[in-house]
Amino acid sequence: MGDPVNPDVTAVQNPEPTTNGSAPSERADLRPENIQDAVIRLAGNSQDGIQTAGGFLARLAGRSDQDVMTYMTIPATISGGPSIFQVRIGSGEVLSAGDEADFLVAFYQHSYQDHIGFLKEGGVLLYDSDNVEPNLDDKRYVYVGVPITGLTVEALGGSAKDKGKNMFILGLIAKIFHLDQDKLKTLIREKFGGKDESIVNTALMGFQAGYNYPVGNLLTQVYQFEHIPRTSGRAQITMDGNQALAYGLIAAGVRYGAGYPITPWSSVMEILRRELPKYGGLFVQAEDELASVSIAIGFSVSGNLAVTGSAGPGISLKAEAIGWASMAEMPLIIINVQRGGPSTGLPTNVEQSDLHQAIFGGHGDSPRVVLAAQTVEDCFYIALEAARIARKYSTPVLILSDSSLATRIEAFDEPDLAALMQDAKPDLTPRESHKPYPLDGITHHLAPGTRIRDGKYPLLSGLEHDEMGHPTGSPKLHMAMTAKRRAKLQKLAEELPVPELYGDPEGDTLLVGWGSTYGPIHDAVKRARRAGEKIAAIHLRHIHPLPNGLDKIFAKFKRVIVVEMNDQGIYGFGQLAIILRARYCEPKIESLTKTDGLTFRVREILERAFKGKTFPGRNAAGLGAPRDARIAAAANGAAATVSSERDRAMDNTPNQPGTEAVLASSGTNETRETEKPV
């Protein structure tokens, strides 16, 4: 089981023999240290099941009243290829996935090479010594080699081969972070239950083998998350952004939809296809994107507000039909889970470059509503908001999500379904008369099957039409109807809440964001304020129309910086910045954009917003060295030293998302801030 090539680690790989199934012998001084949060990155190949293991960690944290945020990459290849799952578990508010990892689990040599740059100094590299040979001369890290492949095969039998390593790793992590092993076992049983009993047993055996591994011989420290009681009193649920969108739609009473498979939207349609029949509804997999939006429109025409969705390429194909929904004033929800574009672009990377497509992606003046979800939790509520607006204003509503929200798991307070659940059925109550397109009011279509006493039935038309829906070439009517379609969105803007200011009520710098950048932007505000900056952020959920009153907020700050993941464009401004500048003619609006296909790191925002300044990491002040040294002192022979250079240049490899330095110890002055939005 030893590693003949690497004598340095061989020593630690021959632990004292332990009795199988019982608690391993550990050194007496190995007491758990209380921590507030930890970033754990698992790096392997996509078939290793690291998403499953990461998912268990996330759900366990959710059950333990901890906040969770995960970061996941999926290789564009169908099977195989590098894949990571990063989970940040915190006792309290976790806003972003973290700039740096405290703990890196490397399955293969390439996993080690690609991701070691993301391990913070003093962080722990846990690697499969059967597959990985790390550079032990790099003294910045703590090296813990465990023959994961060999021990897994040993525990599960020769047939296990590469399977089951994820469960072994899960057991190991459970031990190191003092996680509740009974709860994890329950989760494993739930996940694999219903299948062959032997699968559950194999998974549990793999888990147990990892849990029993005498990791205490390798680390001087295990960790325990501080328990911070949640104030809401509601239970936590754990899901990813696409699940939250799908269940939000169900809560909103959306019972019908249609779609076509495309990454990263597909899982929304998979969930709806499976779930909607339980509610008496139906989701149809269509032959193409054009059909899927058209089927969804057909559902809406039938009196049932419907959903379709896709990623950018599919939304391009749906554009004409969305224009019809705008013209015919048909309520419809269109979800765009954005990825890198244009064309096929970067299918598994994140980008916010479909904003203008969402707002302007149709020929003619075709007003539509555009909303953007900011967190996984918000994916749930934005679906409710989209349905509310679509029904009230009889309009297509686009929801912008993106691949980072789609694939990451967060824990959040369980929604109050008693208050939120919407009734879905069409109202077929007979009417005296009906005008589909009244010039003096907002359109509300009748569902076919509704009797109309005066016998005049409405038409839905993509041609310019009169109040009954009949075609017209009248310039006056075209002007009036164009104004009618526009005016209802102006009316909507009046009722939208002004975004809450997070941070200083007035000052030097205002960061403006939309969508999934919510976490890093808010973390950036926290850190900059700690460094003495007068700074705040607003985050827009309603992007088209914009809420009224943003100008009053802008007036309170010297600089307004719009942070978004898209190109600066030929005029030097990102897509939201262009809209805001056009809307407010405000020259102090600046743009901070990027197109590397990765989520923003907090440091990245700060360094670009405040050029020439450096900001301390979250856990830098007063922490760093002592605790790092403790970790560094760990482990028989697998020594590491701590470099004093904290802000060394991070990744140069494009495939590595940024993470924030964490593992903050509660024993320091690095306590969570209690600031609230003002």
């Binding site: 936590q236 269940y247 089927i295 057909g298 109202d427 007979p430």
Partner: protein, 328 residues
Amino acid sequence: MNETLGTETVAAPVDTRGLNATPAPEFPREKLTKKAITADHPTWCPGCGDFAVLASYYKVLEKRNIDHEKIVTLAGIGCSSRFPYFVNGYGAHFIHGRAVPMATGVSLARPDLHVFLFGGDGDGFSIGGNHLDHGARKNINLTYFIMDNFVYGLTKKQTSPTSPIGFKSKTDPQGAIDQPVNAMKKLVASGATFIARTHAAQVNHMIQMIERAMDHQGFSVIECLSECVEFYPGAFDPANPRKGGSFELIQEKKWDGTPEDEMRHDVTDELAAYKLAQLPFPGVFGVFYQSDRPTKNALEKKWIDSSREKLGGASDRDILQKTFDRMK
């Protein structure tokens, strides 16, 4: 089908949302008349074959006395797709080529409605060709009437997917060179469960075909040769006895055991339908194919019903709450 004639009083439907404090109005139901379902005067050119289709549609609706509010008339884009504007009833004029999927949504969600779909050859066989295949394959319960004039009329004489080789148009001034779509073959191959062919000059035959199509459970398609008097006059004279042609009907099997029945067409035989479709223009008219393969409507309903049954009448909120409980 409601065969009751005359006037009757119908109770207001149940208020499904229970939101209306005031009782819903009740009013008598009168027999459906042509007058009641007539809307704008058609914008078609005088002499256009589509007038006969519209007249036949009125006639069938009137004869069957369908509840007025349950008639849904849908279309894509093209001369013939203007159809919904000329019918007073729930209707929609959608985008080019996508009427089949739009009608699919209406049909799947609302089994109580009669979904009729009208369009032309460009809409159905060219820009919407893919949707025609998949609507047929999925066997969506609706009736699709394709007015085939072998030319793009609304855009003023370009080659259509059914234009014969040699047809001179603005886009093929030397004569069309592309093999035209054989509508019957395409429909048989894609799995439509009712396939018929008729001629706009044969109103009685057309009405028969519409009635049989609407009585069919599944994706029923009628191709109607409907002359464009402006851009392809005389195209269908070879099938018009009044213009010296011959309107040859398909003789369907009567299953009477007689020797002559041997020679008749078995509408459930795909290969036989395919053979009929190979006949040279103008070919034959009538029902080419009909089968009772289950509709998507029925199959989805079965799944929905069994899903609901398993949940034992749990409310929507309870179902979602249970899902959340599993995510804790």
